[in-house]
């Protein structure tokens, strides 16, 4: 049994909040550069170059590359041989979010009640997903999720017989409905299978996959290639102002499902693809 103190959890979460918002992940930056080289729209090319310059400026000055520093989604993979000491686990995560957003000059983008809509002024509460795994460590992955692209995400139950073609059709419909509103070039996370709750969870996990890495199952990898090609033929382009770089990547995650069902979820991640991990 290994002890991990909640102060250490708080400080790690706080650091990850800031780093995720200041430093655009390398795979996304590499995705921008690849997209810029392929982009045929002069305006699209200009926009991608501006985004590269913006990421470099933000990193150099330790400021957020995008002002929407998101609602903080926290994944915690907790080793079953860990004993958390010093206080409540979820309180320490929220204390970390509070500290990170205040000390990092990040925008407070959370309202406490969805209908009364009063800003909590510290970006809490976080959305916390926990998973119990082997070992004596905790891996935290932060995904401070921007609102513009999250708003354009969608879920649908297809008929089982609609199969792969049905999935492609729904993904393209979702991307076309989002257009420039989701802040392309985007990363598209697709979940297929599971239940109402599971399918959206795996769609969001797909967003976290490194750009350039395909699913290990060949038929899913093929679907990812087909989706990316079709998405980039919609013409939407950077910022929805035309071009062939609508998405940097399309990642699909799957799960077993009921004989009656073919649930599909599309979680759209804008180009400000914040993600950062740490292991305690």
């Amino acid at each position: 049994m290994r002890e991990i103190h909640t102060d250490e959890i708080r400080d790690t979460v706080a650091r990850l909040c800031m780093e995720a918002c200041y430093y655009l992940p390398e795979d996304i930056l590499a995705g921008f550069k690849k997209a810029e080289a392929k982009e045929v729209s002069p305006l699209g090319k200009t926009i991608i170059n501006q985004l590269i310059e913006n990421a470099e400026l933000a990193a150099a000055e330790h400021v957020p590359y995008c002002h929407d520093t998101g609602m903080t989604v926290v994944y915690a993979e907790i080793g079953q041989d860990v004993h958390i000491v010093g206080g409540s686990f979820s309180d320490s995560i929220n204390a970390g979010v509070r500290k990170g957003y205040q000390e990092g000059f990040l925008r407070m983008s959370v309202v406490g009640d969805p209908l009364l809509r009063v800003n909590t002024n510290d970006n809490t509460p976080a959305v916390i997903h926990t998973d119990i795994v082997d070992g004596d460590r905790i891996k935290f992955t932060l995904l401070p999720k921007g609102g513009g692209s999250e708003n354009m995400s969608a879920m649908k139950f297809l008929l089982p017989g609609e199969g792969t073609e049905g999935v492609k059709k729904f993904v393209i419909e979702t991307i076309e409905a989002a257009g420039g509103k989701a802040c392309p070039p985007v990363v598209v996370g697709v979940g297929i299978g599971g239940t109402f709750d599971k399918v959206t969870a795996i769609a969001k996990e797909a967003v976290l996959r490194e750009v350039g890495v395909h699913h290990h199952e060949p038929h899913i990898a093929e679907l990812e290639r087909d989706l990316l090609e079709a998405i980039n033929r919609t013409g939407i382009g950077p910022q929805g102002l035309g071009g062939v770089s609508t998405a940097l990547w399309a990642a699909v995650e799957t799960y077993a499902c009921h004989i009656t069902a073919l649930p599909v979820a599309v979680n759209i991640q804008c180009h400000a693809a914040r993600k950062k991990s740490a292991v305690l």
């Binding site: 400021v63 513009g148 492609k168 802040c183 013409g235 035309g242």
Partner: protein, 158 residues
């Protein structure tokens, strides 16, 4: 600078024929909510928010006398019509270009609804702030025009 929560309040005032907390006639509204400034910064990272969320409010704001709005992403047809009817322009700036755009803002002052935090109404002075005309007063739609040039997808998905 004003976004969702401030618009909701202003539309209620306009509906009741009450004055707005600041005179926005002949002004341009930047749909945005900034990050807090770090010491030494005029304003924290800032870029436009998604414009369509202000679509239910924009025609009434243009009718009132707002001459332009700056946001990101396509908008409803009602915005095209409102721009034509009231001689207004809906501009687009690059969403998420927030580190760069914050440098184009030379002064900022909260002028209303301070309780809304990042959604308070701010008066900005800008220099060389890059925007595109997305919807002009003649019915043109930049999004539609540009996407049509690059679309190669058929009716199916392959």
């Amino acid at each position: 600078m004003a976004r969702d929560a401030a618009h909701k309040r202003m539309i209620e005032l306009l509906g009741n024929n009450e004055p707005l907390p600041v005179d926005l006639r002949q002004e341009i509204i930047f749909y945005a909510g900034p990050c807090p400034p770090k010491p030494g910064q005029v304003i924290g990272s800032t870029a436009p928010t998604t414009a369509y969320r202000m679509d239910p409010y924009a025609p009434a704001m243009y009718e009132y006398g707002v001459k332009g709005t700056i946001g990101k992403g396509p908008r409803r047809d009602s915005i095209k019509e409102a721009c034509r009817e009231y001689g207004a322009i809906s501009f687009a700036a690059v969403g998420g270009l927030s580190a760069i755009l914050s440098k184009c803002i030379t002064a900022v002052e909260i002028v209303a609804y301070e309780d809304l935090g990042p959604e308070a109404i701010r008066k900005l002075e800008v220099r060389d702030f890059p925007v595109l005309v997305a919807y002009d007063s003649y019915g043109n739609d930049l999004y539609e025009q540009e996407i049509a040039k690059y679309r190669t997808l058929g009716d199916g998905v392959t």
